[in-house]
Amino acid sequence: MNKTTVNSAHARYLKKAKKENWIVRLMQFAIFIGFFAFWEISSRTEMIDPLLFSSPSRIFSLFITKMADGSLLVNTGITLFETILGFILGTLFGTVLAALFWWSPLFSKVMDPYLVILNAMPKVALGPILIVALGPNMGSIIAMGILISVIITTIVVYTAFRNVDPNYLKVIQSFGGTKKQCFFEVILPACFPTIVSSLKVNVGLSWVGVIVGEFLVSKQGLGYMIIYGFQVFNFTLVLLSLVMIAFLATIMYQLVEQIEKKLIRSR
């Protein structure tokens, strides 16, 4: 086949791929606009109860007011801080625990049934205990964000640690490497992709923990805004918080995904 036919075939292929990409984007945009338009119209025509389901325009005007008085920024900032701390610490503690299990197989054998119980347990059910123990403050909310992700991280990362090809360790040992060197030269770098991808899962989990925590503590944050809006029957406030959470959670997930791509590509 000569070069011009190859080139034109490639051009056709690119054109087709581009066209498909366009269609996907267009449809996504149409769904987005359609959803909010339908919501707005059905609320105005009272097809749905505007008191319960509010409307995009009301939510937007509330957004402007709350931004102006600064309360939305404060509440969002607090929730964001708690969530970021929750998933980073959750992943960190989970990895450290996994490292301890790897270090001492005896310890991991002893702890195995407890890990199963803790994993099966719905962590948010521990909320009230946490608040009693740590006080109704930010500490117990962050603890909830950590608690919800730490056990599953431990299990996933420890499994990855154990699945590292023992021959890599043999290489280190044949050079007289110590257990510590085995861990830092082989186990940890080999499982780095797993740890980063558990970071991605933990973003979502940490949001759950933090929002539930704020429900219970009921002082500040987006979770508090939801529960407060619910109690005073201000569903515009509830929905505004939901939109904020959806927006921020997506951004955070995308950020972690970008970090993951960067880290994985550099090897």
Binding site: D165, N167, Y168, K170, Q173, S174, Q181, R267
Partner: protein, 259 residues
């Protein structure tokens, strides 16, 4: 005094339901600069024996002496090369070949340059900033050889290092390893199930029988073959004669085993 001496080494593997003897009463001595091959059917415990020599595995009974010194754990003068390259995919070639020195905390500029000159000898100096995934299987195994030689071991243990390669690459690598070892006057123990490879590369061939692994018999490779490179040795008239002898002994082992 023998350079490497194995005194009635035995190994038993334990599981919940059974105790399987893998090696029984192996005694062997290797002279300095000698190239010894351990040949035998799969399951004869030849890799186990290599692990014992390396100090990675403690034998259930018996001892291993290197220059009269008892081996109780990984020894700095022993290098180990595995079946596959096992280069660390997250490290560059340079980091991979320097890992031994780094672990021993001996990474000086002088030693680094020595390793680089080894890398130049294998013709792969240009790959030093690449990652293992960018290299072919043969290139990677050459890098693994450099990594093993980087810490200047006196005794080299080779655990079927060519078995995962295609035939052509394997022949080329045999020549490279053989030449490199001769040049640096290293002693080597090679584990293989390839009769041709054993004849082409070694001075002495030790046959092991199965269930449990025992010393069956020993062949001295004639000088006519030893003087030649592995590739040339394969073409020599004496090669098929020795091949035939070893083949018959291996048949014998198989027969004994099935009885």
């Amino acid at each position: 005094m023998a350079f490497l001496q194995i005194k009635s080494a035995g190994q038993i593997y334990f599981t919940k339901h059974s105790a399987t003897p893998a090696l029984e009463d192996i005694s062997l001595s290797v002279k300095e600069g000698e190239f010894v091959s351990l040949l035998g059917p799969s399951g004869c415990g030849k890799s186990t024996l290599l692990s014992i020599i390396s100090g990675l595995l403690r034998p259930t009974s018996g001892t291993v002496l290197l220059k009269g010194e008892k081996i109780t754990g990984p020894h700095p003068k022993i290098g180990y090369m595995l079946q596959q390259d096992y280069l660390f995919p997250w490290k560059t070639i340079e980091e991979n070949i320097l890992v031994g020195l780094k672990l021993k905390k001996e990474l000086t500029a002088d030693k680094k340059n020595e390793v680089f000159s080894l890398l130049k000898q294998t013709g792969l100096y240009h790959t030093r900033n690449q990652y293992p995934s960018q290299l072919s299987g043969g290139m990677r195994q050459r890098i693994a050889l450099v990594r093993t030689l980087a810490t200047k071991p006196h005794l080299l243990l080779l655990d079927e290092p060519f078995s995962a390669l295609d035939y052509q690459t394997k022949l080329k690598l045999e020549d490279l390893v053989s030449a490199t070892l001769k040049k640096n006057q290293k002693t080597a123990v090679l584990v293989t199930h390839d009769i041709g490879e054993a004849i082409a590369m070694s001075d002495t061939i030790v046959l092991l029988s199965t269930n449990p692994g025992r010393l069956f018999c020993t062949f001295q490779v004639p000088l006519s073959l030893r003087r030649l490179s592995p590739f040339e040795a394969r073409q020599h008239a004496d090669f098929p004669l020795l091949f035939q002898q070893i083949w018959e002994e291996l048949e014998q082992i198989e027969q004994n085993d099935s009885e």
